[in-house]
């Protein structure tokens, strides 16, 4: 069963992909499907003896370019659509034992370029409205393959969270005439807080890219990485900005691994301009990479429970200024 059903009570689509129940789950290194092909071993997804970065269609996709028709008939109340879209896997290296945080900056720069190319390529596909590169790392996040890799989803509409951000950016633009992300970056760089908490939240800064714990962090060690200039999407970054983004991403992920002395699980995702042409998205789109690590201490996870899941209202256990102070010293 692969289909999308509309929730008229919440105005959002839910995707059903029941075949994903059968996807490969935590195989041993010898059985890793993302490793290069090796003599005498079972075939892998990448039929090459070595590679640098490779991108391929997910074997167990939530969305597909030619999805089957839905199992159920729609009604005026219960809308249903085929699960059209794209799901790609991005393998960062042919080294099974490495991780994004351990990659040299040059390789991460290459991954940034690959993301930009996939955003451009998938975004040009008719019917794709939003392209989101992301990485799930760690079993606490639900990772099923440990080989260093990320994913890219091409959605048929802007997903709820980016859509909510865009609505907020539109309201801020209408109110002030400015991009909300540009204002946030400027405020953080100026070292002041637009609220009562106060204190610096920047953890890392270059000439073109800034990393900070957001004033409104939903997770204790959440970090946002944002280009200083108004760049709507990854393909809009120039050479120097891509270099800086790669270096900042390396240092943030490396710093995360120093936080508690183990590879910190996280969700990393790039939010950017939608790829449909329903409106001019550029003034309200400002690329940012969000990190959401679930740990609040070395031993304790921040669970999404009653208030977060049922109410959508986050309660955070660590003050952003305190988290930033702790992270700042780790991101060398």
């Amino acid at each position: 069963m692969t289909e999308r059903r509309y929730d008229p009570t919440a105005d959002e689509w839910v995707t059903f992909a029941t075949h994903r129940q059968d996807r490969t789950y935590l195989p041993s290194a010898d059985g890793c499907p993302l490793c290069p092909a090796r003599p005498g071993r079972a075939p892998t997804e990448v039929a090459s003896p070595a590679f640098q970065v490779v991108v391929f269609d997910n074997r167990f996709p939530a969305f597909a370019p030619a999805p089957p028709p839905p199992d159920v008939e729609p009604s005026p109340l219960f809308a249903v659509r085929p699960a059209f879209g794209r799901c790609e896997v991005v393998v960062y290296s042919d080294d099974h034992a490495t991780a994004f945080a351990d990659l040299p900056t040059a390789r991460i720069r290459m991954i940034v370029d690959v993301w930009a190319d996939r955003v451009r390529t998938l975004g040009a596909t008719p019917g794709i409205s939003y392209v989101m590169p992301f990485e799930n790392r760690g079993e606490a996040i639900g990772v099923t393959l440990t080989h260093p890799h990320g994913q890219i989803y091409g959605y048929p509409e802007v997903p709820p969270r980016p859509a909510r951000e865009l609505r907020a950016a539109q309201a801020h633009l209408a109110r002030t005439g400015r991009c909300v992300h540009c204002d946030v970056v400027a405020a953080e760089r100026a070292g002041r807080a637009d609220g009562p908490a106060g204190g610096p939240r920047i953890v890392l800064e270059t000439e073109t890219v800034i990393a900070f714990v957001p004033f409104w962090a939903r997770f204790p060690y959440e970090v946002h990485v944002v280009p200083v200039a108004h760049r709507p999407s990854l393909p809009d970054l120039d050479d120097a900005e891509r270099d800086d983004l790669a270096e900042v991403l390396r240092r943030v992920t490396h710093g995360y691994d120093r936080l508690f002395g183990f590879r910190l699980p996280y969700v990393m995702a790039a939010h950017a301009r939608p790829t449909d042409e329903t409106q001019d998205w550029d003034p309200v789109s400002h690329l940012h990479v969000e990190f959401a690590p679930p740990h609040r201490t070395a031993e304790k996870l921040k669970y999404l429970a009653g208030s977060e899941l049922a109410g959508g209202a986050f309660v955070t256990d660590v003050a952003p200024e305190r988290a930033a102070a702790r992270l700042r010293g780790l991101m060398r």
Binding site: A37, P39, Q52, V54, A116, R120
Partner: protein, 68 residues
Amino acid sequence: MNHPARAREEDAGPFAAAAGGAIEDRSAAGGAVEEVAGTGTGLVRKVGLMADGRRITYYWLPDRGVRS
């Protein structure tokens, strides 16, 4: 350095070296090698098909080693 292909030169692309055994290296098939626009690094890509028809794209930097 646990992979035999690691020791190879990168100049000929990501699939230049044999891995010391019989592997159906499908990466050599598919479309042309093309430079990726907008990178300024010389990044190239090659689009091909996996055995089951899914699309796969190899990206590599011709002038850098795999560990660069």
